[in-house]
Symmetry: C2
Subunit: 341 residues, 2 copies
């Protein structure tokens, strides 16, 4: 869409002012605050045009104008200046994120916390999805009073454990033997290779422990079969309470309930799977309840493969410029953190 220079300037001024104040913006305000060298009457005429184009709208007759969804879209696509983050902020992010990395989970949690702190919006980070699960190691460990811990380690480093009940008392060596036998048969298996034959083979060697074996096999099969669902981490979920457009409890409720439901979150986040940064404004979002929200997402990579998404959720009246910068930089910082891991 091509548009006269001045119209663009006015649209930009109006959007910036509305984002900053939250009040409808009038022609006089624009003439006074943003020196465009024309009078308010001229601006008024242009604004009438902009309204006709559907880029701005009046909440009611004789109020100022506010950006329409389309207006935000035009701003984000054509007008917005993407100024990079200040070096100090970049450094802060890197220091926080790359300093004491322990494991994927805490790294991602940290990223979501950072994201919400820096933007004052709600951060959503979707963790990597695991691929095909191959069994790396199985270990049975006895605890006191007839409890056994079963630890299952997958090739991708994922660890799962479960406490099982166990009536017969075996000695420590027995468990070593049991683990060894299980490992010998199960190591390297993925679900596709899972056959009843495996069970038979182990069953043969361990028929004196039928019940325990059953439990173990069931669990192992479970762990293998779970296509590890990507977990979603939230940061600053309550930040929307600070937004004046969400001073109504009913509105807040809709959003917070949405955020509580992991499934919905994935749906919402899953949309922006195109590469690079995606900005979804208002009803562009898949979820009805998000019609007053915008979502800025970006995917992050590891070894050239997209492994997750991260984003910020705020009101449509959002500081797009800043949010985009933060999301952009955090994406690369997170990718770097993951690579170092």
């Amino acid at each position: 869409m091509k548009m006269e220079e001045r119209k663009q300037q006015i649209l930009q001024a109006l959007i910036l002012d509305y984002i900053a104040t939250g009040d409808p913006v009038g022609s006089r305000t624009i003439a006074r605050k943003y020196k465009l060298g024309v009078s308010s009457a001229t601006i008024r005429n242009e604004m009438a045009d902009l309204e006709e184009l559907g880029l701005i709208e009046q909440p009611y007759t004789s109020a100022g104008r506010i950006p329409s969804q389309l207006g935000y879209r035009y701003y984000v696509d054509c007008l917005m200046e993407r100024k990079p983050l200040a070096d100090s902020v970049k450094k802060y992010i890197q220091d926080t994120l790359l300093d004491k990395i322990k494991e994927t989970e805490s790294l991602i949690q940290l990223a979501s916390k950072l994201l919400s702190q820096l933007t004052n919006y709600t951060a959503i980070v979707m963790a990597p999805t695991y691929g095909k699960n191959v069994l790396r190691h199985v270990q049975l460990l006895p605890l006191e009073n007839n409890k056994v811990v079963l630890v299952i380690v997958l090739d991708n480093g994922h660890v799962e454990h479960r406490t099982l009940d166990f009536s017969l008392s075996l000695r420590g060596e027995d468990f070593e033997r049991l683990s060894a036998i299980l490992n010998a048969h199960l190591r390297g298996l993925s679900l596709e290779q899972w056959k009843s034959g495996v069970f038979q083979a182990i069953y043969h060697e361990l028929d004196y422990q039928k019940r325990l074996l059953n439990q173990v096999m069931e669990l192992v099969e479970n762990v293998l079969s779970v296509e590890y669902e990507s977990k979603v981490y939230l940061g600053g979920a309550l930040n929307i309470l600070n937004q004046p457009e969400f001073k109504d409890v009913e509105k807040v409720k809709v959003i917070l309930e949405l955020l509580e439901e992991e499934r919905a979150l994935k749906e919402v986040l899953g949309m922006g799977q195109e590469l690079g940064i995606s900005v979804k404004i208002g009803t562009e979002n898949p979820h009805e309840g998000m019609k007053d929200c915008s979502l800025i997402t970006a995917t992050y990579e590891l070894n050239g493969k997209v492994i997750g998404t991260l984003g910020v959720l705020g009101p449509t009246r959002m500081e797009y410029s800043k949010a985009v910068s933060v999301v952009d930089f955090l994406t690369s910082a997170l990718a770097e953190g993951l690579r170092k891991l």
Copy 2:
């Protein structure tokens, strides 16, 4: 505190009505709805007395009365009828909770979900604190591209794992040997028994892997030293949004922020450590922001030892009777679930 029969009846009627409707209750309403056999004028006189006793108060002149904090306290202590849960509800709880128990964590999560569903308030469940940590098992497992998973299992069944970077490439058998050596030296150790001597001994056997050993030892020491903090589980945190007294976003914010902060939650929950059911009304709670909330808690046991607390948080205008019943029954159901585990 002793009080005339009729005053008690009026207080009870007033509280029940106020809990049900949320509106200040007038003398006429009580006379009409609760057949006490006296006229509204008489009730008016009694209500004046009750106000003088500090049990009820007027929001403003010539409105009805509402219970004061003291009034609720009197009601809970002296007037409230504790009717047991319906059998169907009991069965529902038991079926849900005892059916497919996998492990402590999901059991407790389920309990908190049940608690919030049944009461429509917010459920808070504090999980068992772990005692002294004794190392049960250490396992090193190689993954692809120079990564190693270190799995640490404690005597209480707790499993911790971490992915380590690792430059030298060793073969599978080497890891088995490494694990075996580590286990031989470390198994059964608690933090008190942790001595530099241990390190020296292993170091001796494994001097060719100094760096990895360093990482492992650091991590093991870490895991042992963490006094496993009791985790807190929330259920139905957004239920307070349904309460008319929390239709103001500012109030909601205070509570939700409180709920988000684990430390504060523990403090709040930690108060009611006396045995049995504890009801904290309004400012009896330790936290300023909870002055309009009541908290009903109870401790649950395993093997005769208190291992956790569970409770519901609602407005001071709370269905105490029902909430107490649910908390009471759920406490025993959860204890049974844990015992069976």
